[in-house]
Each structure stands twice: as structure tokens, then as C-alpha cells.
């Protein structure tokens, strides 16, 4: 598995939200990833990026490619309060987003649900120190 790039996400950076997801989409497009896969990866990446902006104190997004198995992996590692109840967070419509986040149109409570739906591998762990989400996509 090769690390292609790593990006820093800044907490509360609402106005530049989606910047990293766009960058990752461009890279994968250049690598020839088909557009239907590209859209799925973009949805997952954007949702997770937004989650980090809204809920964490910041973190990193890492893009990996596993040529041998034809997979793209995204790792989202943040520091912050974590998710106390992951099962609850996976319920469609459940959200703890702030008023500020909602003003920007976020907080539908569909983030993790969308990510799981579009990905082929989904692994999330969380503690009071932060959240680690790994998602994989079969090419």
C-alpha cells in the first residue's frame, strides 16, 4: 500500500470545506479512476472532511493506493472529543452538529451513513482522544 498524500484538516474551517476532497478527486482522476468510483470516493471524503471540521479539533486525511488489490483507501485521523456512541452516530438523521454548522447547511445527520453506503470497507474507532476512520474502495 502506497501513501500518495496527506492533508491537514483545520477545525471550524467551514468556508474552505471540501478543498481537500476536491484535491483528492483531482489526483484520482489523473490516475484514471473511473467517474462513478470517483464520485463515491468524493462523497465519502467530503463527508469525513466535514465531520472533522465540525466535530474534531483537527486532524489528517491520508490517501493510499493498493495496486496489488486494486483498492483506494482513505484514512481520517483526528484529535478531539471522539464519538461517544458510534452506533447512535450511524443512525440516519442523528446529529450533534452546532448551530454554526447548521447555518452552513451541515448537520443532516447523514455523514457516516453516506460514507458507509458508498464504501466497500468501513472501519471506525473512537475514543475521548479522537476518531480514526478507514474507508476502502474497490476499483
Amino acid at each position: 500500500m502506497t501513501l500518495i498524500d496527506k492533508y491537514n484538516v483545520v477545525a471550524d474551517s467551514f468556508t474552505t470545506a471540501g478543498k481537500i476532497s476536491s484535491k483528492i478527486k483531482d489526483i484520482l482522476k489523473q490516475l484514471g479512476v473511473p467517474s462513478d468510483k470517483l464520485r463515491k470516493i468524493s462523497v465519502a471524503c467530503y463527508e469525513a472532511e466535514i465531520n472533522m471540521i465540525i466535530h474534531s479539533d483537527g486532524g489528517d486525511i491520508s490517501l493510499f493506493i493498493d495496486d496489488e488489490n486494486g483498492m483506494v483507501y482513505l484514512h481520517f485521523d483526528d484529535v478531539g472529543p471522539g464519538i461517544p456512541d458510534i452506533e447512535q452516530a450511524m443512525v440516519p438523521g442523528w446529529s450533534t452538529a452546532s448551530e454554526k454548522a447548521r447555518e452552513f447547511g451541515f448537520g443532516a445527520g447523514m455523514g457516516l451513513v453516506n460514507i458507509k453506503r458508498v464504501s466497500d470497507n468501513f472501519d471506525i474507532t473512537s475514543s475521548s482522544e479522537g476518531t480514526h476512520l478507514k474507508v476502502g474502495f474497490q476499483l
Partner: protein, 110 residues
């Protein structure tokens, strides 16, 4: 139809260059919650929303929608228009509500 044809048909004010206005529109999608739109909108749809802040551009680009239609004359910040222009994404503005827009669209497209 193209974004430009949709705009003319519906009497919208259009912002966008030739590349943006010549994109193909397959159907319409209505939604204001970005995460919901991320999950459900399809490529080549004209996305109707009352949201006009800059975050709609990232959603529109990642989902590859045809254009964004800002309904009910919601004010569009200049930074949204600038970013859309930079990304060759058309923004249409209409005084109509989403309901009125779709009703009119279905009447006049035939």
C-alpha cells in the same frame, strides 16, 4: 437541454462562462441539507437550493451536478459567484420557489 437553455426557458439570471452554460442538464434535484444532497443528487442534475454560501460549490463539483439554481431570489455572496466562475460551474438565480420552478419547468419544457 443545456444549462443555458434551462436558464432561458425558466427566465433565470445566469452566471457562468461558455463551458459552464453548455453543460448538459438531465433532470432537477431539490435539497438544502448539503449532506443529504451529497448522498442523493446525481451527476448532470440542476440542483435547486436556497443555500448560496460558498460550500455549495464543493458539493456541486464533487457530485458533478450540471448547475446550481438559487431559488427565491436568495442573495448570492460574491465569493460564491467567484468560486463558481473559477470552477466553470454555472449559478442560476430565480425568484421562483422550488415548487413553482418545477411546476413551470414541467409546463414549458414540452
Amino acid at each position: 437541454m443545456t444549462v443555458n437553455e434551462l436558464s432561458k426557458l425558466m427566465g433565470c439570471t445566469a452566471y457562468g462562462d461558455d463551458e459552464a452554460l453548455n453543460k448538459n442538464v438531465d433532470s432537477l434535484y431539490i435539497g438544502d441539507l448539503l449532506s443529504w444532497v451529497m448522498g442523493h443528487a446525481e451527476a448532470d442534475q440542476a440542483w435547486l437550493t436556497v443555500q448560496s454560501h460558498i460550500n455549495i460549490i464543493a458539493v456541486a463539483l464533487l457530485k458533478e451536478v450540471a448547475c446550481v439554481v438559487i431559488i427565491e431570489d436568495a442573495e448570492i455572496p460574491q465569493e460564491t459567484l467567484d468560486k463558481a466562475n473559477e470552477e466553470h460551474l454555472a449559478i442560476l438565480s430565480t425568484p421562483l420557489t422550488a415548487y413553482e420552478f418545477v411546476t413551470k419547468f414541467n409546463t414549458v419544457k414540452a
